[in-house]
């Protein structure tokens, strides 16, 4: 058991890590193929794991429904949404060319309600795939709404961050104001006057700090990779040390 749970994963991590390290320094076609092969395995594993994810999601909400925990009504929404999207994905072809008669009432309904009513041409017409339609009109819109909320969150966060309570906060406030005035397109004369200052702050002190952080991140990533490749860091395998 220890072999499969500990030694085998460490050996696998070591082999994969070393192979991928040397692959980076080889321009050969074989190196390219190796990367493709590893990426393909990544995709396969992700595809298999998605079933685990779906099971986890449904099981979690089933438990909530069964126990009638507060807010269990949302779990019904999850089940309805999941079922509708799954049916839409499985029952309708992705290709929008669909036969009016073959698709029957659903096809006619989709054509009439979702895509206007183009005149049928010899029994074949274009309908919108329901899966795409739901995605475009629900998911994308809701996602955009969430993203739009960010503007208000930034405003409230900026209010907290820029309160000049300390010397550092005052410097931050002044720098932020200069950058904003130089970049926000309110008045041309302000933009023209402050644009060089804004660019200087972004390209010099800001960039210097960012590069310092990047150096640290990259070295830390190499060190973490080494710890994983040589089996020193094993927390990710479970079972602690």
């Amino acid at each position: 058991m220890t072999f499969w749970k500990k030694k085998f994963p460490i050996a696998l991590a070591f082999i994969c890590g070393v192979v991928m390290f040397f692959r980076f320094f080889s321009p050969s076609h074989l190196a390219d193929q190796t990367l493709t092969e590893f990426s393909d395995w990544d995709i396969i594993i992700s595809a298999v794991a998605s079933f685990l994810g779906i099971f986890s999601l449904l099981h979690n909400h089933y438990t909530k429904l069964r126990r009638k925990v507060p807010g269990w009504g949302y779990s019904i929404v999850v089940y309805v949404g999941f079922t509708v999207m799954a049916l839409a994905g499985f029952l309708f072809k992705v290709d929008t060319k669909a036969n009016l008669y073959k698709d029957g009432l659903v096809g006619v309904f989709m054509r009439m309600t979702l895509h206007g009513s183009p005149p049928p041409t010899e029994g074949v017409t274009t309908i919108v795939n329901p899966f795409n339609w739901i995605f475009m009109n629900f998911m994308v819109s809701l996602g955009a709404t969430m993203f739009a909320l960010l503007a208000f969150y930034i405003a409230s966060a900026a209010f907290r961050a820029f309160r000049a309570k300390t010397r550092e906060a005052t410097v931050l406030l002044i720098a932020a104001l200069l950058v904003m005035v130089g970049r926000v397109p309110l008045w041309d004369f302000l933009n023209t006057a402050f644009s060089p200052v804004s660019s200087w702050i972004m390209n010099n002190p800001n960039m210097a700090a960012q590069r310092g952080i990047i150096f640290g991140i990259v070295l830390s990533q190499i060190a973490l990779s080494l710890r994983i490749i040589f089996g020193i860091e094993r927390t990710y395998m479970g079972g602690g040390d």
């Binding site: 794991a49 079933f51 685990l52 969150y153 966060a157 952080i213 990533q221 990779s225 020193i232 079972g239």
Partner: protein, 485 residues
């Protein structure tokens, strides 16, 4: 009469179009002296259409003669060599030739390729202007910094990208496929097909053209075979630094085994982990832990999972509740395994609840909405945000702040760091995220790697300072040594 004139125009246009459409054929016959070419079909049609307006036709003819004369006066490069493109996978050749004194933005070099000396010829991807972009000095990693590299052109001929036509894309049923608009889907036919291997012979012609599209061949038809390289010397500096850094880290890991009491500076955010877990336990509220938005292949997610292992152990010891909504199914599976192991290590395997670590969705903002909902409904006393984050970071942490939870975050996403710093009580910046697991575990071997990192940082710092001084003094050899692809 009109009908006859129209026919005449069409015939003239067709003849001129034929004469200009395959410029490579003439040169391919012998690779003899450079041959000036007639204008392309479009220009020919214009000439034909001007039969009824003699004055503009004369002007156009004069202009055409002028541009042709300019091309004729173009001083050809003395030598043109076809070489294997260095440090590649054997799918590129390169044309190497010295700069011509006649070069100007009015002229462009174009490359035609064929699998046989007699054609057919196909234009290689893109046309290279005569500007500095195709000088060898533009790619010092492959061609070095010598003086002559700024006087020599190198045009990479990417053989695998030479398109020779299109064909219908067929499905599994053998039928041509159509896109959502009902138009047939086409796929490119490439010169480098399945039977082509590195080492196959290709024929290449260098053409110089002017703005009117008149072409003139430079030098003879050349042939060559690309060679596949196994190692890329242009990355040697990268390789040496990586190996040296690995050796340093491994040395310090070995050193730490013998001297376990290594000093590591205090990281306030990590020191507060225990405080946050204790606070949640006292309040009888859960602890929310997020692994970030990146998949398991990202190092920041691995770092986050390592921290999760340490945090969940403390949670198990305190007998508190940990909830981990996941964005990726693999991350979820690994997180479940890590937390289960941590509970077992803490001697509380019975307290582990798999339902508390579940998959939500891969949709970025749907996930954000779900987690925000959890924060508002369950009111966790402590929120941990470790890993890679994007635009959702502020939405998550601001909501968490509004619930009054103690918040600890850590990310290597530079653009999100300001948001975390603003809204969280403690933030691990960049490298601290990767050091967190070692810091929390206090295991000598892990701490040793941190000391190795410090040596690496010291080295980079020295290189930056020395490089700045040398560059200020006009000495650029260090800068040249560090150039990479």
């Amino acid at each position: 009469m009109i009908k006859h004139t129209t026919v005449l125009i069409l015939v003239l246009a067709a003849v001129l179009a034929l004469a200009t459409s395959v410029p490579a054929q003439q040169g391919a016959k012998g690779g003899g002296p450079p041959a000036a070419k007639a204008p392309p079909a479009a220009g020919s049609a214009q000439t034909a259409g001007r039969a009824h307006t003699p004055a503009p036709a004369d002007a156009a003819a004069q202009e055409s003669a002028k541009t042709k004369a300019a091309l004729d006066s173009f001083i050809m490069p003395a030598t043109v060599e076809l070489i294997d493109y260095p440090n590649d996978d054997g799918r590129s050749l390169a044309l190497k030739f010295p700069k011509s004194p006649s070069e100007s933005p009015n002229f462009t070099y174009v490359v035609y390729v064929s699998k046989s000396a007699g054609g057919p010829w196909y234009r290689a991807t893109g046309a290279a202007s005569t500007s500095g972009k195709i000088l060898m000095s533009a790619n010092p990693a492959d061609f070095g910094w010598a003086e002559e590299t700024s006087e020599t052109h190198i045009i990479q001929v990417e053989l695998a990208k030479v398109k020779i036509g299109e064909e219908a894309f067929k499905g599994r049923d053998g039928m041509p496929q159509k896109n959502l608009e009902g138009e047939p889907i086409k796929k490119d036919l490439m010169l480098w097909d399945k039977s082509t291997r590195p080492g196959s012979t290709f024929y290449v012609r260098l053409i110089v053209t002017n703005k009117s599209g008149i072409e003139r061949q430079v030098g003879p038809v050349l042939s060559g075979a690309p060679v596949e390289q196994w190692a890329d010397p242009a990355k040697a500096n990268n390789f040496i630094f990586s190996v040296l850094f690995c050796v340093v880290v491994l040395i310090f890991i070995a050193y730490a085994r013998r001297n376990p009491n290594l000093f590591i500076r205090k990281i306030p955010g990590l020191s507060a982990v225990e405080e946050a877990v204790g606070r949640a336990t006292e309040m009888g509220k859960p602890i929310l832990y997020l692994n970030g938005m990146d998949p398991i292949g990202s190092l920041n997610t691995l770092a986050s999972i390592n921290i999760l292992g340490r945090v969940s152990r403390k949670v198990a010891e305190y007998d508190s509740k940990l909830i981990v909504p996941c964005r990726d199914p693999i991350v979820m599976t690994v997180s479940q395994e890590v937390v289960r192991g941590a509970y077992a290590d803490a001697g509380r395997p019975d307290a582990y609840r798999e339902d508390n670590i579940w998959y939500v969705t891969m949709e970025q903002f749907a996930y954000t909405a779900a987690v925000n909902g959890i924060m508002l409904r369950e009111r966790p006393a402590a929120n941990f945000f470790f890993g890679g984050y994007y635009a959702e970071s502020l939405l998550l942490t601001e909501t968490g702040a509004s619930t009054g939870a103690i918040q600890i975050s850590g990310t290597d996403a530079l653009t999100q760091l300001p948001f975390f710093i603003t809204t969280c009580d403690y933030t691990l910046i960049g490298e601290e995220l990767y050091a967190a697991s070692a810091y929390l575990a206090r295991e000598p071997r892990l701490l040793g790697s941190l000391r190795g990192q410090d040596i690496g940082k010291m080295f980079i710092l020295v290189v930056v300072v020395v490089g700045t001084v040398l560059a200020s003094l006009g000495k650029v050899w260090l800068d040249h040594m560090l150039v990479t692809k």
